[in-house]
């Protein structure tokens, strides 16, 4: 008797950022085919002015979109990934890290720090899908945990913006342990009276959805964001089920009661400011 189907839930979307060869320019809208200059897209918060498609946003640009000008001060930037397993697949893990750093200018897949949004102080933890699929290894888990601790110490809410394919398999079991680690940090933040406001950007899957991203006091997502534990390809392959068109999307999750709201990007900053005001008055 054959073994049961194997479940590969952690990394389904890690390759989603690489378009297949010969596909469109990154500034061409996959929704309607409109093409934009870089400065046009930045000005439009990377939302297609024609059809409303939400393009991916890097961590630095996301922080510029959300935080008051000049208010962001990065924290824990010295935390970097190590290579605890000496992991080598077709290429060594450290080589992939260096490549990701060169491509994104980031130390790892999350940027954390203090900021104000419409004058309300908070801590920000913003993930970047372009850095190894936004995967969570020890460094990402550590930086997120420190962001919780920093928020608790300052008595302000933590705003997380996740975009991740899941746990970073190059760190093996230690990557899986970042789930309970970040969850414990959220619990500590709560014990101190602090709040977690969780924003799910496309895609938030695997180990990040199965840890802090789902545990916000308020959980919102961007329109069309994929937020599933197992990605659509794995589900289709494992179960041979026909997937609904909106499988795992924010809209489907909202219908099933897993989200408080779907917030289009232009409304995200005022929405977070409103929540921060509410959580700071008690």
């Amino acid at each position: 008797m054959a073994e049961g189907p194997r479940v590969d839930v952690e990394v389904e979307n890690k390759r989603a950022a690489e378009p297949p060869a010969g596909t469109a320019h990154p500034n061409t809208c996959p929704g309607c085919g409109s093409h934009y200059r870089e400065d046009e897209l930045v000005k439009a918060l990377r939302v297609c002015p024609h059809c409303g498609h939400h393009f991916p946003v890097g961590a630095r640009e996301r922080i510029r979109q959300l935080a008051d000008d000049g208010s962001f001060v990065e924290e824990a930037s010295e935390v970097r990934s190590a290579d605890p397993l000496g992991f080598f697949d077709l290429r060594p893990y450290p080589e992939r890290l260096v490549e990701a750093e060169m491509a994104t200018g980031l130390g790892d897949a999350i940027v954390c720090g203090r900021a104000t949004i419409e004058g309300c102080p908070c801590r920000l933890a913003v993930m970047d899908f372009a850095f190894m699929g936004g995967s969570m290894g020890s460094a990402v888990g550590e930086k997120f945990a420190r962001a919780c601790e920093s928020a608790a110490a300052a008595g302000v809410p933590l705003v997380s913006v996740s975009a991740s394919g899941g746990a970073r398999m190059q760190e093996g079991i230690l990557a899986l342990m970042q789930l309970p680690k970040t969850i414990g940090a959220v619990e500590e933040l709560r014990d101190s009276g602090g709040a977690l406001l969780s924003v799910l950007a496309h895609p938030t899957t695997g180990g990040v959805l199965a840890s802090f991203a789902s545990l916000g006091d308020v959980v919102v997502a961007e329109p069309g964001a994929l937020m599933s534990f197992a990605g659509p390809r794995v589900v289709a392959q494992t179960t041979r089920e026909r997937l609904p068109d909106d499988f795992g999307r924010a809209e489907s999750n909202f219908r099933f009661g897993h989200l408080d709201a779907i917030v289009p990007r232009p409304e995200l900053r005022p929405t977070l400011a409103r929540l921060l005001r509410l959580f700071s008055r008690r």
Partner: protein, 312 residues
């Protein structure tokens, strides 16, 4: 645990070494086997050894949660249903007496034959299973019963309905629930510890692994399919991410290794259960003396410290 097992083996080795003088070659095969086993317990594991663990962890005759329940828990009463919409047969919860002491049990359950495997969904739980687990955890906390969890799953079920019912959120909340418990908790990986579906019920004061269990972020096949672009390279993938008990112990992810009968747990269910029972009771005794607040603090601190990173 590992050290005790090593000591036991050393003792047997030295006895057999003495016997060799009397009976000559007759025991040398046995000595060789024990020396090999000792080597395995102590030394660096080769790629072949890691793959052997993968195979043994998935062995069809390996004892499953209910095999251990039958042998270790008296008066076991199974608790069914998540009190919301379903009962998930892939995850078993119940109350039973472990050597005279009432405990709450939560464990994945695979099936032995095709029919049972299908009914148990190969040990892959839906969110309903994790909600049932959380209900059992809350019961344990209310009554001060220690919690014992047995982990044996390829992973949480990746299906359309599972996603619609909130698989990611259920796994996150189950971990948060375990993190918050006041009662002593012990988890043991008894076969496959597959990713989020496994850690969902493994956030315990003491986390153990049986000698031939595996605990991993992804299946070897899944890892190979992505990084090597070929699921057939599963052996290479397993060697690279090292899901075996010794490496998990070295990385500080687990607190102890539970010995199995020679040849693996499937060769002798009774002995495997006795060894597991000893380890569970010993692990609970270690954390029982702590004050509940201190126990929870220590549990959080333990997981907070996990991971290896650099500071540039």
């Amino acid at each position: 645990m590992a050290n005790e097992a090593e000591l036991r083996l050393r003792e047997r080795l030295s006895k057999l070494g003495g016997m060799k003088l009397l009976r000559g070659a007759k025991v040398s095969g046995e000595i060789e086997r024990l020396e090999k086993q000792l080597e395995r317990l102590r030394g660096e594991r080769g790629d072949e050894e890691i793959w052997r663990s993968v195979e043994l962890a998935r062995h069809q005759e390996r004892p499953y949660t209910l095999d251990y329940v039958e042998r270790l828990l008296d008066d076991f009463f199974e608790l069914h249903g998540d009190r919301a919409r379903a009962d998930d047969p892939a995850l078993v919860t119940g109350i039973g007496s472990l050597r005279g002491r009432t405990v709450v049990l939560v464990g994945h359950q695979k099936g032995r034959d095709l029919k049972e495997r299908t009914r148990r969904n190969f040990g892959m739980a839906y969110p309903e299973g994790y909600r049932k687990a959380m209900r059992a955890m809350a019961l344990a906390d209310r009554h001060g019963f220690p919690l014992v969890t047995l982990v044996d799953t390829p992973g949480a079920y990746p299906g359309v309905a599972a996603e619609q019912h909130g698989q990611g959120g259920a796994i996150a909340r189950s971990q948060a629930a375990m993190m918050a418990l006041s009662v002593p908790t012990v988890a043991c990986v008894i076969g496959e510890g597959g990713s989020g579906g496994a850690v969902a019920i493994a956030v315990a004061d003491r986390v153990l692994m049986q000698e031939n269990a595996i605990y991993s972020v992804i299946s070897p096949e899944g890892c190979a399919a992505i990084l090597w672009r070929d699921a057939g390279e599963a052996r290479k993938a397993a060697a690279a991410f090292k899901p075996d008990a010794l490496h998990c112990r070295e990385l500080g992810v687990i607190d102890g290794i539970v010995p199995e009968p020679a040849g693996g747990a499937h060769t002798d269910h009774d002995t495997a259960a006795a060894l597991l029972g000893d380890a569970l009771v010993a692990a609970l005794a270690e954390v029982e003396s702590l004050d509940p607040v201190e126990r929870r603090r220590a549990r959080r601190a333990k997981f907070r410290a996990m991971g290896v990173f650099a500071t540039a």
